[in-house]
Symmetry: C2
Subunit: 196 residues, 2 copies
């Protein structure tokens, strides 16, 4: 028991706190909008420490992006690669996904935005080793179509449809609120309802 350092998964080390603060700020404001000062403030430490742990803003950003991607990929794989029956699979995915995203509203917009603005960061540096394999999902859809269980559809469109209907309502929440003239409460409730 004389380890000099305990290394539990959840540790309140400075590095950890910095990372969490950076995660918040970057996902909400993007690479350009994020300021090192704000990150330092939220972490309750000094600007200089940011550079001590992560050499530069860019490196810190990369760490966050990597974490965000690492969290997102398994969710997608889960849909594409599990061998549950299609409908069940989709239902589960939607439940699971809407749960996550409700608590983490900024992440999807962050991913989409930053891919557009800084494609290099995503594709040169932070690309995950193992991309999801959609082939299995394609095959499954084809089978269910042949069995007459679902109407004929290009499986890629099906995926896009599902993802669109799950993600966009959250992305566009503020916009919709204005268009439909709703209060925050109504908006929140409406999104809850969508699990149908």
């Amino acid at each position: 028991m004389d380890k000099t350092e305990i290394k539990p998964a959840v540790q309140d080390s400075t590095e950890q706190r910095i990372f969490e603060a950076a995660h918040e700020v970057f996902t909400q404001k993007g690479m350009d909008g994020a300021k090192m000062q704000e990150i330092a403030d939220r972490a309750g430490i000094n600007k200089a420490l940011l550079h001590y742990y992560y050499r530069s803003k860019e490196k810190l950003y990369e760490a966050v992006v990597r974490a965000v991607i690492a969290q997102a990929i398994p969710m997608v794989r889960k849909v594409l690669e599990s061998d549950l029956p299609l409908e069940e699979k989709i239902t589960r995915f939607i439940d699971f996904y809407i749960g996550i995203i409700s608590k983490n509203t900024f992440v999807p917009l962050f991913i989409i935005s930053e891919i557009n603005k800084h494609p290099d960061h995503f594709f040169e540096n932070v690309l995950p080793k193992e991309l999801p394999q959609p082939q299995f999902f394609f095959k499954q859809v084809d089978e269910e179509i042949r069995a007459g269980k679902i109407r004929p559809i290009d499986p890629r469109h099906l995926i896009i449809n599902i993802i669109s209907l799950c993600i966009f309502p959250f992305l566009g929440k503020p916009l919709m609120r204005i268009l439909l003239g709703m209060t925050h409460e109504e908006t929140k409730q409406l999104l809850e309802e969508r699990k149908n």
Copy 2:
């Protein structure tokens, strides 16, 4: 014919060129990512001139936002307020919308992103005088449900669904391309197909 200045709608004045350059840069990079230098470069003029025509970066940004909103609002009104039969209305909207957005990929993401990052700019300064009125649309949907023409659905969800399915595929295009392992060409073709 001795007017000192001709004032056609499409004029290649410096102010016009600045605005167009600003429109490109702001919609692609957002308020924070956009740099005055880049706007000047694209307009083929000097940084100082930007300030001559538009006093500040913020003012220039506002001008762009105003234009973007002014262009977007009528599109939404068209769906919500015209008195075509519902299905026809939706079909037309989709055609029309996908046409526009294909040429103007960045605008929707710009709107959604900037609303999240700078709500003040959108809601304090640039709010359009006249918001679309969804009530008419709601009523129409109700009627068609009662007539048994469409299955029962909260009209707000219907709107959200339509918009999601139209907009998100473009927002998420780069993401989808990676997930599904497609080439640019395949992606483009897939989006074309979606008018179904």
